[in-house]
Every structure is written in C-alpha cells, then in structure tokens.
C-alpha cells in the first residue's frame, strides 16, 4: 500500500442525499425528492434503464448540474452549492474525455496543475498513480496512441490522482468490447479493494452492477425502486420492475387471482396456495422452476441450448414462461411440460403498485 492508497482511504466520505430533486423547467420532475445514504468506502452502483435519471443524479453529486431542491452532503459537509473542484470528488466519463493534445502525464497532472501544486510534488504523485495503474511506460504518449483499455486507465488515473473523497463513474465500460469490459471489471474491483474510495458507478448493465457493487441502487423514472446488496436484490426483489430488470432471462411474471385459498391463472389453472383475495402478479425465476411430473401444465414453444444450460420458452395460459434447466437435464422432446413451482421460490406482487407482498408464501 502506498501513499495514494492511504490518502484516498482516509478521504473517503459518506454521501447523504436528502430530498434531492431535479427539474429542468420547474414543472416536470426528472428526479422527484429522493433520499439515500451512500456509506463511506462503499461501492454503490446506480442501475436503471436509459432515461431513468441516473446520469442526472450522478451529475448533481459531481456538481455539474445544480439541484432543484434538497441537500447533498459529503460526510458532514453540505456541498450542493459548491463547484465541482471544491467538493473533492472526481469523475470518469463514458467516452474517457481525455484531453487529446496532452500527454498521458499532462492529462493525469492537469487537475494538480490547476490547483497550483508545485512541480516536483506533481511528478511524484502522477508517477505513483501511473505505477499503480500500469501506465508508467506510457506517460509520454498522447491519448490517440493508446488502446481503449489504456485510455480507460488514464481516465481513472486522472480521477484518483487528486485523492478524491468520492469517485464517480459514468458508464465507464460501455465503450469497450466484451472481453475488455470483463478485464476492466476485475481491475476496477481490485482497485476499489485497494484504495477504498467511496464510489458511485452509473450503469445500465446488470452484470456490472451485480459483480461490482456492495449495494445497488435501482432507479426507475427518478424514484428508488430498491437499494440493497446484489444478493438481496436478486433473491428478494422489492417490485415487479426490479424483478424484471435483474436476471437473464428475467423473472417470469404472470397475472393471477386469489380466492383466499389458491392463486389461479385467468384460465383457471392453479399456480400456488396462498390465502389472499384479488388480483396479483406472481413471479418465479426461470432457474427455480422444476421440470417433470409437476402439477402445472405448459406447452413448449421454443428451446435454446446455450451449452451450460438450456432455456425453454413455454406457453402458460397465454403467458410466456421461460425455464432455465441445468446442463444435461433430460427434458425429452415432449411438447407438453409438467412443472413444479417450489413455494419458497415464489414472489407475489401487488397488481396495482407492483410492490412485493412480503411473507405471502412463508407458511
């Protein structure tokens, strides 16, 4: 561990969002008042479909957008009215946004130069960061002479050289190819373990969210759908939106009606026992469905063999049901499937609000 690591770990501060809201024209709210606490040193991924307000939220934290209401605090400091440079946060951009006419060294050193740091100290800092990121031999090059992954690393170096209390990433991996994205994910996870900066990472890629995050904040139309660990989000989604957004293929959702004893599909087929009345949505993950000899009947429509597992698409009373079977499972060639939905793996959501009904299958 060198000086930079310790300095960043020491600077890491919690982020408190208190009724933060954003509206561009004063009437339509891009982000309605929103509360969240991002703990110091934690890696938080903000996940959501495009247009959900996640980039706006990040730019408000960074200070590139003004908040329309509410307060943002880093640690005990209120920062919502400060300029980005006064907030002590740094950002990595989607398309790197390196200065094309400056060398790697000058790119990384620019913020220190603007801050008026004396040259010898600057050189020392930049070299320490460059060594940490494996950029030491590239310091004299221009960004145009670097590969995508190297540019990404320069962008990260530029961010961490200031020893920021908060490190922000705006979809930093979306410009890379699949292999490089995987490698950079590993590097980012490792980097975070080393420097322990409070990190906010915006993405629409659920794999990045699941692999990198300590906690995931799922945004939908500016509102927080769920803010929890990846494991909880996957196994206990708080809403239909989260259930459908996470997982590949996503959770199956079918509309059901309860009569106080059982849940039935529209065509009358019984799905599960549950003492509720009225309209609900029933969810089950594709890999939780058991094949063979169960009470639930469905017609096979299509199958995709992916090698490691097979995905079946079946028709369940007019709904598409996706089933993931483990490799080698004998599913035969039958068009009629008999399925079992294990009650412990079922999720019940309110038909109107889409929120989960807790403890519906706990008996």
């Amino acid at each position: 561990m060198n000086a930079i690591d310790t300095a960043i770990r020491a600077a890491a501060s919690a982020i408190m969002l208190d009724k933060v809201s954003k509206s561009y024209d004063g009437t339509t709210e891009v982000i309605p008042p929103l509360d969240a606490e991002l703990r110091a040193g934690e890696f938080t991924v903000v996940l959501g479909p495009s247009g959900c307000g996640k980039s706006t939220l990040m730019q408000m934290i960074a200070g590139l957008e003004r908040v329309s209401g509410g307060t943002i605090s880093f640690g005990t400091r209120q920062v919502q009215d400060l300029e980005p440079k006064q907030r002590g946060c740094a950002m990595v951009f989607q398309n790197y946004a390196l200065y094309p006419h400056m060398s790697v060294f000058d790119n990384i050193a620019y913020s220190l130069k603007v801050a008026g740091m004396p040259k010898p100290e600057r050189v020392e800092r930049v070299e320490a960061v460059a060594k940490m990121l494996g950029l030491f031999d590239l310091l004299a090059r221009k960004p145009g002479q670097l590969s995508g992954g190297q540019r990404q690393r320069v962008a990260i170096g530029r961010a961490i050289v200031r020893e920021p209390g908060v490190l922000l990433f705006d979809e930093p991996l979306s410009n890379l190819d699949a292999q490089l994205r995987h490698d950079m994910r590993m590097e980012l996870a490792e980097l975070h373990r080393r420097i322990g900066a409070t990190t906010v990472f915006v993405t629409h890629d659920q794999v990045e969210a699941m692999t990198l995050a300590d906690r995931i904040l799922i945004l939908n139309k500016g509102r927080i759908e769920q803010f929890d660990t990846p494991k909880t989000i996957y196994h206990q989604p708080a809403s239909v939106f989260v259930a459908k957004f996470i997982g590949a293929p996503p959770m199956n959702i079918v509309p059901v009606t309860g009569n106080g004893k059982v849940l039935r599909l529209a065509d009358g087929q019984v799905m599960a026992e549950c003492p509720v009345f009225g309209a609900y949505q029933l969810g089950i993950r594709p890999e939780d469905i058991l094949l063979g000899g169960g009470p639930i009947k469905a017609n096979l429509r299509y199958r995709e063999d992916l090698g490691s597992h097979t995905i079946l698409a079946a028709d369940l009373g007019g709904n598409v049901l996706r089933i993931a079977t483990p490799f080698g499972a004998d599913i035969g060639t039958e068009a009629h499937l008999s399925l079992t939905f294990p009650p412990a793996r079922l999720h019940l959501f309110d038909a109107e609000t889409g929120r989960v009904v807790p403890g519906a299958f706990s008996q």
Binding site: A62, P84, K85, A90, N95, A97, H101, Y110
Partner: protein
C-alpha cells in the same frame, strides 16, 4: 467494369488537362510578358516565349512605382484582418457554443447574415459610415429630437464627425466583420466531445482556463486555416480598398497594380511592367499558402479528434 473505369479515367484526365490549360495559360502569359521590354511588346504584342527583361522590370517596379509602399499597406491590412478575424470569431463561437446565451440562435443568424450580405453589396452604406463613423449617433440624436432641443439651447445642433477613410483602421474594420470564421469555429466546437468541458470542470478549470489550456491548443489547425483564408481575402480585396483610400500612399497593392495602367485613351499600357508587378505582388500569398497548406486542409475537414 475495368474498361469502363479506364475510359472514365481518360475522360476525367482530359477534362482536368483542359481545365489546367485554361487556368495556367493566362498565368504563363503573365510570366512571359513580365520578361519582355515595353518596346519589344509594342513591336510584337504579347508573346508565348520568355525574354530577358524580367529583373529590369522588377527593378523598375521597386524604383518607379509605389508598389512596395502599397505592398506594405496590403500586408498591414491582410495580417490585421486575419488576426482580428481569428480572435473575434474564436471568442464569439466560444460564447455561442459553450454558454447558454440568451437569444443565441438569433445572434448566430445575424452573424451568418454577414456571409449572405458581403461587403461588395454593402459598399455604399459602408462608405457612408466610414466617412463619418459617428453618423449613427447623429442620426440617433436627430430621431429622438434631442438635437432640436440642443439647437434651441446652444444655437446649433450637434454634428459629430470622424472619418476613417484613408486610414489603415478604415481599410481593415469593415473586412473584419465577417461570419465565416465564427461558423468555422462553431462547427469545430460542436464536434468536440461534450464531456471534455465537464472533465475540465471536474479538474477545477474555469471557463478562462478551459479556453486557454484545452480549446486553444485543439483549435490550432482551425486557426491556421482561417488565418490563411482571411489573409488571402484581405490581400486580394479590390473594391473596398479602392473606395476607402484616395491617396496612392494608402492604397493596397492590388489597387496600385490596376492604377499602373494609364487612364488616357490611345496609350498602350506598359504591360511588362504591370505583369512584373503582378508577379511580385503574388509572391507573399504564394509563400503563405506553401507554408501553411497542410493546416489549411486539416483545419477545414473538422475531423481533428
């Protein structure tokens, strides 16, 4: 398809060759004429082969005409025009692209209007203003009725007068008011990644630092291209210098060249002298293009990333 392409190449080559003849022919004739003596031309007319009087003609240009003084004027006009245009265009494009300017699109439309209404069309009104650049203030005083009030109190209305005709400033200022450069820089700024501004802000750079540290170095090719184009435009201006300068000492080289031909009828102009002058006057723009031509192309393609 190969035969087809070949015949197409042949036709294209022929057209190109004819076009070159059309353009280079008069230029060649300029050169050969510049090398003959006045007497030789009077006897033989314009000829297609070179003579041996080029240097004596050039020496006469420097000793008998005001072309050297006028080239200095041209240089002052062209260089000032180029520099001031670059600075103004760069700053106005910076304001229009990177700041939320109220009525920004109206301002930009007005700037573009200068491209559609070039100086040659506005020459009479521009002359009026240049002959008294305070005349708008006079007009304002007249319209508002302030002048009749002043006339009542002091006995005479205010008539401010300041003519910039026959000055370098008067030659340059109307040329500078031209929107091409603003348009060029605006298009260049628009293709820069938007995140660059945000990255600079995150690094703590304010608008001025961003301008000098990031935007200015990136705009170098655009600057060079605009500088060359404006310089050439200023150097070859004819109409405005003709009307804005009345004494030979203030005229530019291109105007001076035209004046070398005598106004009297029946006198054969000294074409060898005039052509030698044309060659001398062309040297500076030629050198300019030779030195800066690679920037010219790079700055205009707008793909500098």
């Amino acid at each position: 398809m190969v035969e087809n392409a070949r015949s197409l190449n042949f036709v294209a080559g022929t057209v190109l060759f004819l076009g070159m003849l059309y353009i280079l022919g008069p230029l060649y004739l300029t050169l050969t004429t510049a090398t003959q003596s006045y007497e030789f031309m009077l006897r033989n007319g314009l000829v297609w082969y070179p003579g041996d009087q080029f240097f004596s003609n050039v020496i006469r240009i420097f000793s008998e005409t005001r072309i050297p003084q006028q080239m200095a004027n041209s240089l002052v006009v062209a260089v000032s025009d180029a520099i001031v245009t670059c600075v103004l265009s760069f700053l106005s494009a910076y304001a229009l692209v990177f700041f939320p300017v109220r009525w920004g699109s109206v301002v930009f439309a007005l700037i573009l209007a200068t491209i559609m209404l070039p100086l040659d069309i506005r020459v009479i009104t521009t002359y009026q203003v240049a002959s008294n650049i305070l005349s708008p203030i006079n007009a304002l005083l007249d319209i508002t009725g302030l002048n009749s009030l002043i006339a009542n109190v002091f006995g005479a209305p205010v008539m401010l007068e300041w003519s910039v005709l026959n000055t370098h400033f008067g030659l340059i200022a109307p040329l500078v008011a031209h929107g091409t450069g603003t348009f060029l820089f605006r298009q260049f700024f628009l293709v820069l990644p938007r995140d660059l501004v945000k990255a600079a802000r995150m690094d703590g750079a304010g608008p001025i630092r961003f301008l000098f540290d990031i935007l200015l170095p990136l705009s170098r090719p655009s600057f060079a291209a605009l500088f060359v184009l404006t310089f050439l435009g200023g150097w070859t201006q004819y109409l405005w210098p003709l009307v804005a300068s009345s004494t030979p000492n203030m005229q530019t080289a291109v105007v001076g060249l035209a004046r070398l031909a005598p106004d009297m009828e029946g006198v054969m102009p000294d074409f060898p002298l005039i052509m030698a002058g044309a060659v001398v006057v062309s040297i500076i723009p030629l050198v300019m293009i030779a030195v800066l031509q690679r920037y010219l192309v790079r700055g205009l393609v707008l793909s500098e990333k």
